[in-house]
Subunit: 468 residues, 2 copies
């Protein structure tokens, strides 16, 4: 569909000023730079025509009604920490920043729920609910991200083995449709069989169906202790083979991470950290929450036993809080370390978790075929593999030329192993060219019809996930 | 929308015979009775024009393409154990029975998943996955139900506190669209951010969007022990007040059930069971899974302490397997007991769990206002309240006259407490007149547009959830 949009005229600016006030609008290009990109290494920059910062749902509704009337594209944005270009205003128009809708409306200590606005950061949610003796258990890795962005991309992270992903921890939404109508979905309860579950449809739709203006989060209680076990293996296959056995133990770990030697070396170099066991090729990090050190210790005795049956001659459980923090911190900084190491791309394919070794072996072949090194690590407990093709042996120009071929091969491999193109970052604009590898024509046609039923003029975050 | 459907002609029958074979078609009315109703007390009977029993996806696809071409309504059906009339062919047409699609295709011991056809019973799934050392943790209460029906209604049940509801335990689907196209959604992984989540949209859509032909279930490990604690309280408020405190303990119970005196009396009478503590008005039953009796015992010591702080002078943990089984069994038979007691209706409203006492108090007022006794029990841990208006004091005719007014008042009360009309049974045809109490015009309009985008001719399970 060739899209022809209305431009942001002086009259529209005037009406936007009436809605949000002059101080909450940015029209000069110099102050728009930070709204023109996200953290994706290859999505580039696109400037909006205007940045608008509403402070409540009614303002969002008015902005969308105005945009709808004038067929002006609207791109919703949280903190801009996304990794696939999902909040970049590729068609210009209105950049709808939710940064001022950053209130925690209610923390319900009886029902273990929090009602929040989309612009609250994950960091603030976690600290405020913990003050109330409750816990929001997800850790997608970037605490400055907003919860609205987390819901829009269905963010995942390290704790998914135990707690699932964002969609499993939201109970209801308030959202504004492209025409300016406000809908409320779900509520403060887990069970519901009352019509279609629009909470789950809007979650993960990357801002293409509606603008989320309130979120009801499901909370839990905070575990007393968190401990980590770090085990080295001779091969990734050996490491991954332990995972189903670990998951058959009676306690469910919070997360199981895997990493290969190469990422460890990069982290050691760029974060000035020394990580144990230099002679091994692959590693598991098992993160366990529990009530007491004793309980976790007993669990780790069993985990270590399983690891040793699969070739780990030793395993490390840091004795001090500081050593533990350093180990977890090193894992959390993988992405930052690799960003400093070299120009790179990032992949977040998910496969059934037993397929990780086969998939990573195929990725190594792809790496050799294209002459592009690919670093692998990720979430062994849920099959979510992070791959970084890195530019450390050829020119950036050559890298950028080969990259689409490498990515195409990686995504085809992921899908051939029964996986999905994006486990947690979303499609955005970066993965749009590859979507058809996984989503066949009938399924894509259904998604497009759903998009059209919400947004007949395609004004809401156009150009993301797929083109109409 | 005034609906005009094509009839099932001889030519259509001939083509259906070609698809599934003569022995898998029922055309004589005498053999159709069991396909004309479900377990709903008030949904009544509607006969289809033909019953068709395909054995594979390709046959389902051909049947739907044929129906689509001829604008004949198609009603998918599992075991017919539904409680809201969702599988009754109200417009006649083709009754698509999935009873022969009853294979367990794969149990994946590495990835803890099972791929099953929709016609497998819950009972068979549970026993087969347990043979493989795995566990499907939901217990919606009716083990002869098919998994396809469970997914279509997003069935809930007693174990939802720990394990969520059906939608939280499915990872992917194969489904046939009304036009006969086959789509595959999700896969053998928990994380995905690859386009709209159609698995979660089709789950709970009561067979109105697509016919489910395969389901990937998420499995877990089976707990070693299950124990029950039964505690009596002076009031429902006292009982419910303990729930958040119980949930703040470090272990998560499998389920927390509440019941009032009246249902206990009915169960005692109709199941010939004696249930302890005749002098109390309300009861909690806490169901706990764990690794060992010791672990659960320690947990129950804490639970009992909390109960006693809220007026329970004592608490019972059955000492023998037999006594425990009898207690759980009594709870499971509430619905059967009340069905034998008197003509009745059933309600499955869900409210935020702290609102249960206020909601039930309001229900008592409604009961008094209409002169219709209402029995209450349900899932205290997740806010899902079962109410039975019973006909034990007036004529059936008078009961049936007052019932819609009673139900309207109950649903309005549930929604006013922040709840939903159906927590686990679905809307079907029974609750359709009340849907607008919860789902306002903009939200309903979105649902209708989604329905139309899947099913432009409205041939798939028409007349369910809402009318177009």
């Amino acid at each position: 569909m060739q899209q022809s949009y209305g431009r942001v005229t002086d009259q529209i600016i005037k009406e936007l000023v009436e809605i949000v006030g002059k101080s909450n609008i940015v029209t000069d290009r110099d102050n728009m730079e930070s709204y023109s990109h996200d953290e994706s290494p290859h999505a580039g920059k696109h400037f909006p025509e205007v940045v608008v910062k509403p402070e409540d749902t009614i303002s969002v509704a008015k902005i969308l009604a105005l945009a709808s009337k004038n067929k002006v594209p609207v791109t919703p944005r949280g903190a801009g920490t996304g990794l696939s270009g999902g909040c970049i205003p590729v068609y210009g128009g209105i950049l709808l920043s939710l940064e001022r809708m950053n209130r925690i409306i209610e923390i319900d200590r009886e029902n273990f729920t929090a009602t929040v606005e989309p612009g609250v950061t994950l960091s603030e949610i976690c600290s405020k609910v913990e003050e109330q003796g409750l816990y929001y258990p997800l850790y997608p890795g970037e605490m400055t991200a907003t919860i609205g962005g987390n819901v829009a991309t269905n963010a995942g992270g390290m704790n998914a083995v135990k707690y699932g992903v964002t969609r499993h921890n939201i109970l209801g939404l308030e959202a504004v449709l492209p025409n300016g109508e406000v809908i409320k979905t779900g509520g403060g309860y887990v069970k519901s069989s009352t019509g279609y579950d629009l909470t789950q449809l809007i979650a993960g739709s990357e801002g293409t169906l509606a603008v989320i203006t309130k979120i009801i989060l499901k909370l839990t209680t905070k575990p007393v202790k968190r401990e980590v076990l770090f085990a080295p293996f001779n091969s990734l296959q050996d490491a991954i083979d332990t995972v189903p056995e670990i998951l058959r133990l009676k306690m469910t770990p919070t997360g199981i991470e895997f990493m290969e030697r190469r990422i460890i070396e990069i982290v050691e170099k760029y974060l000035d950290r020394e990580i144990p066991y230099p002679q091994y090729d692959a590693f598991l990090m098992i993160i366990m929450d529990g009530d007491s050190e004793d309980e976790i210790h007993e669990y780790f005795v069993n985990v270590e036993e399983i690891c040793k049956q699969h070739g780990a001659t030793e395993a490390l459980v840091p004795g001090s809080e500081r050593a533990k923090r350093r180990l977890l911190d090193a894992r959390e900084k993988f992405y930052h370390a690799i960003k400093r190491y070299a120009p790179m791309e990032l992949v977040d394919v998910v496969v059934p978790r037993s397929k990780i070794p086969g998939f990573v072996r195929r990725v190594k072949e792809i790496s050799a075929e294209h002459g592009i090194p690919i670093v692998a690590y990720g979430h062994a407990g849920d099959g979510n593999v992070h791959l970084h093709p890195v530019c450390d042996n050829i020119s950036k120009e050559e890298f950028d030329k080969r990259l689409p071929l490498v990515l195409g091969d990686i995504y085809r491999a992921g899908v051939s192993f029964g996986g999905a193109i994006s486990g947690e970052h979303g499609i955005g604009i970066d993965k749009k060219p590859y979507l058809a590898i996984q989503i066949d024509a009938p399924l894509l046609a259904v998604m497009k019809k759903i998009k059209q039923s919400f947004d007949p003029d395609n004004i809401l975050n156009p150009g993301k996930i797929f083109d109409l």
